[in-house]
């Protein structure tokens, strides 16, 4: 009876086996392959790589398979794996103007050098369930463009920059960007730390916050200046060689939000930027990130900090779904020692009320308990 309330090693082992069985599901159904996940669940793979902070499609697919499609769990698996990887060095910063574009749209200009490239998107579909997919419908090949996508694809914000209409994108100084995966983040945070935090942040959390600014919780009037998605090669300078070599290619999505700014005593009216970047094809995420990045610059731009999305400590401390999921779910762990302490206290309090105050007791105000 005493042992029954404790965990027990064999119970845990059995639970793990049951989990494995449930994951596999009906054995008459063919098992998912990592190839299938990588190819046909590619946006799930992209999200897991982005929030898992690790660009590896195969491992992300494995994580999705292992987690039974629970993406937050898959992100967690990838992050924990990432911990074990040694760091060889840092790649050369990427230049998104040189991206091989697969999609590039701007909501601020009807036409622009390079044109609007719609690419693959849900945006132009009707959200009707396609029953032909249930029947394993074949998909016709996509049409190939007659001309190749324009090589010259300047960023919209650079076009505005030529006129001085938008703030210069400036680095705070020449120092290395802050790395929140290696150092404990400091508050107030520098923009590099903020952007890194948002790039890894939970898509749902960022989406809700960005939405809140549009509904008046934080002053923000964004235009989607440009969203571009495509491939970029990654270069690295090994110490032994001393010159850059290409070590691979990644897909990224970039969003430049343009926001109105009335100007201040020192700066004339101009547009300001909010920036979003993510591994893989993640438009919703990068747009939300662009909006929040701008909202978090309130202090820097002398705007009043009134809404949650503008509150750096609030946003940055709660954006990580690995932390959030762990801490919310840790309530499942046994707390019977703490609860016992509370029982002893509550009984003592009740006794005190019953003996000391036969008449009406004071209304009991809330006392904040730890944890």
């Amino acid at each position: 009876m005493y042992v029954a309330v404790k965990g027990g090693e064999s119970a845990i082992r059995n639970s793990q086996q049951l989990l494995a069985e449930e994951r596999r599901g009906d054995r008459n159904v063919e098992e998912l392959t990592l190839d299938q996940i990588q190819n046909q669940m590619s946006l799930a793979v992209d999200r897991v790589m982005a929030e898992g902070s690790l660009y590896d499609k195969e491992l992300a697919a494995l994580a999705i398979k292992q987690s039974r499609g629970d993406l937050v769990e898959a992100i967690f698996l990838l992050r924990a794996y990432r911990t074990t990887l040694p760091r060889f060095g840092t790649t050369i910063p990427i230049e998104t103007a040189n991206m091989s574009i697969r999609r590039r749209i701007s909501a601020t200009f009807k036409d622009l050098p390079g044109g609007q490239v719609l690419g693959p998107s849900f945006d132009y579909t009707h959200r009707l369930l396609d029953f032909s997919l249930a029947a394993n419908g074949d998909v016709p090949d996509a049409v190939e463009a007659e001309d190749a996508v324009d090589q010259n694809m300047p960023r919209v914000t650079d076009l505005l920059n030529n006129e001085g209409l938008i703030e210069e994108e400036k680095t705070e100084d020449d120092s290395e960007p802050f790395d929140i995966t290696r150092q404990s983040p400091k508050l107030p945070a520098e923009r590099t730390a903020r952007l890194q935090n948002l790039a890894r942040g939970d898509e749902g959390f960022l989406l809700a916050l960005a939405y809140s600014t549009q509904r008046g919780w934080g002053k923000n009037h964004p235009f989607a200046g440009e969203i571009r998605m495509g491939e970029l090669s990654i270069e690295f300078i090994p110490d032994e060689l001393g010159f850059p070599i290409e070590i691979g290619e990644i897909t990224i999505t970039e969003c430049q939000m343009i926001n109105q700014f009335k100007g201040s005593s020192e700066i004339p009216a101009q547009f300001t930027r909010g920036y979003g970047l993510s591994f893989g094809h993640n438009e919703r995420k990068t747009m939300a990130m662009g909006i929040i990045d701008r909202a978090l610059r309130a202090r820097e731009l002398d705007e009043q900090v009134q809404a949650p999305a503008q509150d750096e400590e609030f946003v940055l401390s709660h954006s990580c779904n690995v932390e959030a999921s762990g801490f919310v779910q840790h309530l499942k762990l046994p707390h019977y020692v703490d609860f016992q302490s509370e029982l002893v206290t509550v009984r003592a309090l009740r006794e005190a009320v019953n003996t000391d105050k036969p008449d009406e007791a004071e209304p009991i105000p809330g006392i904040v308990a730890a944890e």
Binding site: M1, Y2, V3, V5, K6, G7, G8, E9, A11, I12, F76, R79, A80, R82, T83, T84, P86, R87, T181, R182, Q183, S184, P185, K186, L187, P188, E313, S317, V322, E323, S325, G326, F327, V328, Q329, H330, L333, P334, H335, Y336, V337, D338, Q340, S341, E342, L343, V344, T345, A348, L349, A352, D356, E362, I364, P365, I367, V368, A369, A370, E371
Partner: protein, 307 residues
Amino acid sequence: MTASSQNKNTNGSMENPEILEGYNFAYLDDQTKRMIRRAILKAVAIPGYQVPFGSREMPLPFGWGTGGIQVTASIIGQDDILKVIDQGSDDTTNAVNIRNFFGKTAGVDTTEKTNKATVIQTRHRIPETPLSKDQILVYQVPIPEPLRWLEHRETETRKMHALAEYGVMHVGLYENIAHYGRVTTSYDYPVQVDDRYIMSPSPIPKFDNPKMDKMPALQLFGAGREKRIYAVPPFTKVKSLDFDDHPFTIESWEESCALCGSSNSFLDEVITDDEGTRMFVCSDSNFCKEQIEKLTNAPLLQNGDGS
């Protein structure tokens, strides 16, 4: 304590789960361990001060002991003998999980016997058996900031610690006494270390607070999600906050342990039927077992270690 990347079990009296291939000794790479050890050294040098560190994602969820695990992984060597408890017990799910983790990644010996362990990782309890100067107690900490409930901003609490502006802590105690005639905080009861920093003892019952004072063992605290490490060096003064005329007190039970008869240990309440009948048993399962052995003057359970 040495850490190396080999998986050798030199003291092989324990049946360990098979050791994981392809991972570092105790999971973390040496760079990370060095970073954490630096944080620990700083923490020991400034008792009670929360040292920020570059906490990593571990294969266990945040909130489930990742801080304690990272601290243990950074200090554990092959000759160490590890004990892991949760709620005072060695066989709760979380304790089993963490013990298995180190069995799998470090291959160190594990034990349930408090006095045999060199490193004890704990969640929510301090063992009843007094610890010695050759032992290290590693606490898992969910919220390291004792001021968090009164001031939720990190930027502000950091300043309050720096300036030792702690009046607000006593405001909390005052409120308790004014409304209830006593302090109602029953666990995670704040302490002041070495007359300087106010510190969260982690959610141990206040029953355990007096054990922290002048403890011969080194006490290390790891908060993984919040990315903080702090420490109480051996033989350091740890005082639970109180008023002169309302001194700190600990829980006591009218009952004794139903299994070993102990009347001075922390008791868990176990409900035994749906009529609400209950019994009280020691929360420290190893202590309870040892008391029973003493009583019967013969080992009750042969297989004291491990399982």
